[in-house]
């Protein structure tokens, strides 16, 4: 009897960690968390009207152009412009908006879809867009139809102060309004990840947010955000410093680059900005080095290849496949390149070889590096499996 009990208890002891492992995997893949990043949305808001706030509209339109260039389609961009600078009578260049005095780029080109314009840009409408509580008559194009797989970029610019942002020179969005809206969005599974970017004075005060939110503001409390330069031809300042340097960062990128958010955040130079860009990441789970900017500013998602279709292609080949895609310049939204492991499906694979989780999440900047990494993972997995065999043999022998 006793000889029987011992091996059994040993077996149970061995089984326990396996069960624990399994349960943790099961927990991680609960329905909310397990949602994949499936789409990208952008809400771009210019909150101030009047001619002398030309730059705010230029800021927003520049961001609009950038996110469009990086792949977010127009139907997934909610553009809110509080005033119409392009058709302002004071505009020397009718129907054109520039964000640089060299006038090389007209931001107000043929294909700008403004969803909320003029006096439609109110705090109420803004909160309705975020929370999705619209009146029935509001068309789909004016709604933020995001789901639990959405990455949302929320960009706001205007005049603000300590814990508020002015709308239309008549009302304010306060930080707790924003926090509340984000919380509601969270509850309603309206996003997977949310990046809030604010270019205003004392922007940092606007963030006391709920989880899952990454926030970046142009200035700390007590600091002003300044305009970048004056276009003496148009007669107004055309862009704000924070946005200018953000755009400068993005102009170097194309849809296939995988610069990380941390490289964006570290690109802000306080002496150039004349304010300190503040980013809040404590509520955000992933490491910024691993998150490419295109996760928010573009629409670049991982494609999951089912084994059935691509049996011959192991993971190590997927990178090469992507490379060929990029050479072909075929930019289909469905066939996104596979750069980063984001979803939990990947995490399941990564948990078994302990200590590899962090490394596997890193965005591999070059194909070669990635290739080596992928090989390592596979070999480790193999070694692990081989190591399991003696264990199995010993345990069966003990039971008998």
């Amino acid at each position: 009897m006793e000889t029987f009990i011992n091996p059994k208890s040993l077996f149970h002891l061995l089984l326990l960690p396996c069960l624990l492992l399994y349960s943790s995997i099961a927990y991680n893949s609960s329905p909310v968390e397990a949602a994949m990043h499936t789409n990208n949305w952008a809400v771009l808001v210019c909150t101030s009207r009047f001619w002398f706030n030309y730059r705010h509209m230029a800021n927003t339109l520049s961001l609009y152009r950038t996110v469009k260039r990086l792949g977010i389609p127009d139907e997934r961009i909610i553009l809110m412009l509080a005033d119409d600078m392009a058709c302002n009578t004071r505009n020397k260049y009718p129907a054109q908006v520039f964000n640089n005095e060299n006038h090389r780029l007209n931001l107000y080109g043929d294909n700008v879809e403004v969803d909320y314009r003029g006096y439609e840009v109110t705090v109420e409408n803004f909160l309705r867009v975020l929370t999705g509580r619209h009146e029935t008559a509001v068309p789909r194009s004016k709604r933020l139809l995001s789901d639990e797989g959405s990455h949302i970029l929320l960009y706001m610019t205007g005049h603000g102060g300590d814990e508020f942002l002015k709308f239309q020179d008549s009302e304010e969005l306060q930080s707790h309004d924003l926090a509340d809206a984000v919380k509601q969005m969270k509850e309603k599974h309206r996003f997977k990840e949310l990046l809030i970017m604010v270019d205003t004075c004392q922007a940092a005060t606007l963030f006391n947010q709920s989880p899952g939110v990454l926030a970046i503001g142009s200035s700390m409390k007590g600091e002003n955000s300044y305009s970048h330069h004056l276009d003496s031809d148009v007669g107004v300042s055309v862009v704000d410093r924070f946005t200018y340097y953000t755009l400068a960062f993005f102009e170097r990128l194309n849809i296939y680059d995988n610069a990380s958010l941390s490289s964006l955040f570290s690109s802000y130079n306080p002496s150039l900005l004349m304010s300190t860009a503040y980013y809040r990441k404590d509520l955000y789970k992933r490491r910024l080095e691993e998150v490419p900017v295109t996760n928010f500013f573009g629409s670049v998602m991982e494609t999951i290849h089912t084994d059935a279709a691509y049996k011959a292609l192991s993971r190590r080949n997927s990178g090469r496949f992507e490379d060929e895609m990029s050479l072909d310049q075929s930019v289909h939204h469905i066939k996104r390149r596979m750069l980063i492991k984001v979803n939990d499906g990947d995490e399941i694979h990564d948990i078994n070889p302990e200590g590899e989780e962090g490394a596997s999440k890193c965005p591999w900047s070059t194909f070669r590096k990635k290739f080596q990494k992928a090989e390592n993972v596979d070999s480790l997995l193999n070694y692990g499996l081989v190591a399991m065999i003696p264990l199995l043999v010993i345990s069966t022998w003990l039971v008998q």
Binding site: W51, T89, R90
Partner: protein, 728 residues
């Protein structure tokens, strides 16, 4: 006096549990002498400190953004302007006796640019004294009966419509032009305006219409602008208007002729309007000058000391100094610049500031002595012109319609050189363009910056919050002294009752006596009222005197004086019987009379400070010491001490200085030398005041009355003195 006050204080003291504010009041009242000395000194000192306390101007309205756009005025536009100047100065254009030719030229030039052009005919309205029109604007659509076709002026008006604007707002550019005897300066100002105008017809950024008014200044610059504004702001809807210039055949001929000769449809005989005016600029170029560099003078004072919004001055100042390199001037009282006492005062302030800075490095309020002197001279002129209430240029007409306007007078340094002319056209034009572009950016009326301010230099100002302190300090003693005198008068009669010197006091029961005593001030009030009534009559007299034809100012003034004395005597005989009755008790009553006078002066000054601060300030400077020191001469003479003698001298001197004509002559003498002073000048001055409906006139009237009351007090005592002497 002091003893009685202390007595009153001791009377108050035993009262249990007085609220702190009441106790403070009682304390102040009981020490009113000290308080008044301290307050008055502080008030005068604060006035002299104002240049030190002046702040730098800043552009308060975000929308203005002056100088953010680079000027677009090019040499092409300048040569356009030069062409107009040449055509206007061409002797052929001056041949016509009515100067119609030059108006035609201007109109043709405007039409060539594609602007809408119309002529506005007006009859100059002589400003007249309307006793009841002081605070009403000079609109009042009154139509003069005696139009004659011989005297009319023609304003040429060109309007550029903003190409994408809504036409609801407009910016006005005014160039006074006398076609009959225009100097080169006027032609040059037209050239500048034209070059700007020609630029503005081409630009795409106009949000407001541009109106260029060439005001026919043969009947005065102000009259022409005011006439046009009157027409602009009060449209006539009925065609049944009384005869006006259109009835005159020759004028009609002119316009028909024009209509034929000018091919465009943009010319119209009817009055043309654009939107509400956002701002107006009056542009002048001075003919002769002795400046070393190109300067530009800003004139801002409108009627009754109203000022345009400070932002407008800031914009002009900023653009002139930082963009066009022009020196900006505001009016100064030149004689003050050389006064040595002001310089030494400035040095004292400077050294004080140094000491303060050495004590605590963060205190930086000192300014150099020379700057102080200049600031004071500018401040004094600012105060003077605001106090006078007479606009310093045609911009005053705009202020009556709540339009912010200033006059810019460019004084170029060289003369008649071609290169120089182009340079001044370019810089002047760019300045105007910059201001217009800045105002064009405006979304609302000027409202951000100050309306109540005094300038100490083009870039420094004293705001209402600061200068009111000086004024408040100055008039603060008045109510206290009044209260103290009133208390004194009551308590002294109490004492006299105790001494049983007056028989009436014995017979009265206590309550009855108190009741009578508490209403006794009404007697004094009646006296004061009568004197004010006389003052009112005196101030209305000029209206009737001015009806007398062919009167030289001197005779008018004499008539005025005579009539005033006559009316005083009449009033005295008709109404002054109570005065005579009061004579017996006058020795005790004087305190009450003084108290009532001071109260009325206090109220008057307080009200005036709301209407026109500068007037109130100057009035307070004259009247407060006079009111505080006033005391029956007899009492002082009787007392015979040195102190009372000093007081008597002060009384007499102040009493004479504060007499408005005397004050006027004294000031004029100080500024221009006594040789030039003439009795008639005062008449002219007063005439100008009522012609401009200046509230200052009312105020002088008030001063007059207060003075009269005080003088009355003193003089009564004189008469008593005479009676005494005679009886002896």
């Amino acid at each position: 006096m002091a003893e009685t006050k202390e007595k009153s204080l001791s009377d108050e003291k035993p009262k249990p549990r007085v609220r702190p504010i009441v106790r403070l009041g009682i304390f102040l009242i009981s020490h009113s002498f000290l308080v008044s000395v301290v307050c008055c000194t502080a008030g005068v000192l604060a006035l002299f400190l104002l240049p030190v306390l002046a702040k730098n101007t800043y552009i308060s309205e975000n929308a203005l953004m002056p100088g953010s756009a680079s000027p677009m005025l090019s040499n092409q536009h300048v040569s356009d302007g030069n062409r107009l100047v040449k055509d206007l100065t061409n002797p052929n254009s001056k041949s016509s006796e009515t100067g119609i030719e030059s108006h035609k030229i201007i109109a043709q030039y405007m039409l060539d640019l594609g602007a809408e052009v119309s002529f506005h005919k007006f009859h100059p309205q002589m400003n007249q004294f309307h006793p009841l029109h002081f605070f009403s604007s000079p609109v009042s659509g009154k139509i003069q009966e005696n139009y004659s076709c011989s005297s009319y002026g023609i304003n040429t008006v060109g309007i550029i419509r903003a190409p994408r604007g809504d036409g609801k707002e407009a910016i006005v550019l005014v160039t006074p032009y006398n076609a009959l005897k225009s100097g080169f300066g006027e032609a040059l100002s037209l050239g500048i305006a034209y070059s700007v105008f020609s630029l503005l017809t081409q630009v795409t950024w106009l949000a407001k219409d541009i109106i260029w008014l060439v005001a026919d200044s043969q009947y005065g610059e102000y009259a022409a602008v005011a006439a046009w504004l009157r027409e602009y702001q009060t449209p006539k809807f009925s065609s049944l208007s009384t005869p006006n210039a259109e009835m005159c055949p020759d004028v009609n001929n002119l316009f028909e002729l024009k209509g034929h000769s000018i091919s465009g449809s943009k010319f119209s005989n009817s009055f043309r309007r654009a939107g509400t005016m956002a701002a107006a600029l009056v542009l002048k170029v001075r003919d002769q000058n002795e400046q070393f560099e190109d300067t530009i003078s800003i004139y801002a004072e409108a009627s009754n000391g109203q000022m345009p919004n400070l932002d407008l001055i800031n914009v002009v100042n900023y653009l002139a100094v930082h963009r066009q390199g022009l020196r900006v001037n505001v009016e100064k009282l030149w004689p003050l610049l050389n006064s040595s006492w002001l310089k030494s005062l400035g040095e004292i302030f400077e050294s004080l500031a140094k000491v303060a800075k050495s004590l605590y490095p963060k205190w930086k309020f000192g300014i150099p002595a020379t700057e102080y002197v200049e600031g004071t001279a500018t401040l004094a002129s600012s105060l003077y012109y605001q106090a006078l209430g007479v606009p310093t240029g045609p911009h005053g007409a705009f202020r009556d319609y709540q339009v912010d306007a200033i006059t810019l007078e460019i004084s170029p340094k060289f003369s008649l050189d071609k290169v120089w002319r182009n340079d001044i056209l370019l810089r002047g034009g760019r300045l105007i363009e910059g201001v217009i572009r800045s105002v064009n950016n405006l979304l609302e009326k000027f409202h951000q910056s100050f309306f109540l301010y005094l300038l100490t230099s083009p870039s420094k100002f004293v705001s209402v919050g600061v200068y009111m302190i000086a004024f408040a300090l100055l008039i603060a003693p008045l109510p206290m002294v009044a209260a103290s005198l009133y208390v004194d008068a009551n308590s002294s009669s109490n004492c006299s009752k105790g001494d049983s010197s007056t028989p009436s006091a014995i017979t009265d029961t206590d309550e009855h006596g108190i009741a009578i005593r508490s209403w006794r001030w009404l007697n004094s009030a009646k006296l004061v009222f009568i004197v004010h009534l006389w003052g009112a009559i005196v101030s209305l007299l000029p209206y009737f005197i001015s009806q007398i034809p062919d009167c030289s100012p001197t005779t008018s003034f004499m008539i005025w004086v005579l009539l005033s004395i006559l009316s005083l005597l009449t009033l005295n005989s008709v109404l002054a019987s109570p005065l005579a009755c009061a004579k017996a008790t006058q020795e005790k009553e004087w305190a009450l009379v003084k108290s009532v006078t001071i109260s009325s002066v206090f109220i008057g000054l307080g009200l005036m400070s709301v209407i026109n601060f500068a007037t109130a300030e100057i009035g307070a400077l004259l009247m407060v010491p006079m009111c505080l020191l006033a005391r029956p001469l007899k009492l002082d003479v009787r007392a015979g001490t040195l102190r009372s003698f000093c007081r008597l001298i002060c009384n007499l001197v102040l009493g004479h200085i504060a007499f408005p004509p005397a004050a006027f002559f004294l000031l004029k003498g100080m500024l221009d030398g006594f040789g030039n002073a003439n009795v008639g000048d005062f008449w002219m001055w007063v005439e100008s005041l009522w012609a401009w409906n200046s509230a200052t006139y009312l105020f002088i009237d008030l001063t007059w009355r207060a003075h009269a009351v005080v003088a009355h007090q003193s003089c009564m005592m004189f008469w008593n003195l005479d009676v005494l002497v005679l009886s002896l």
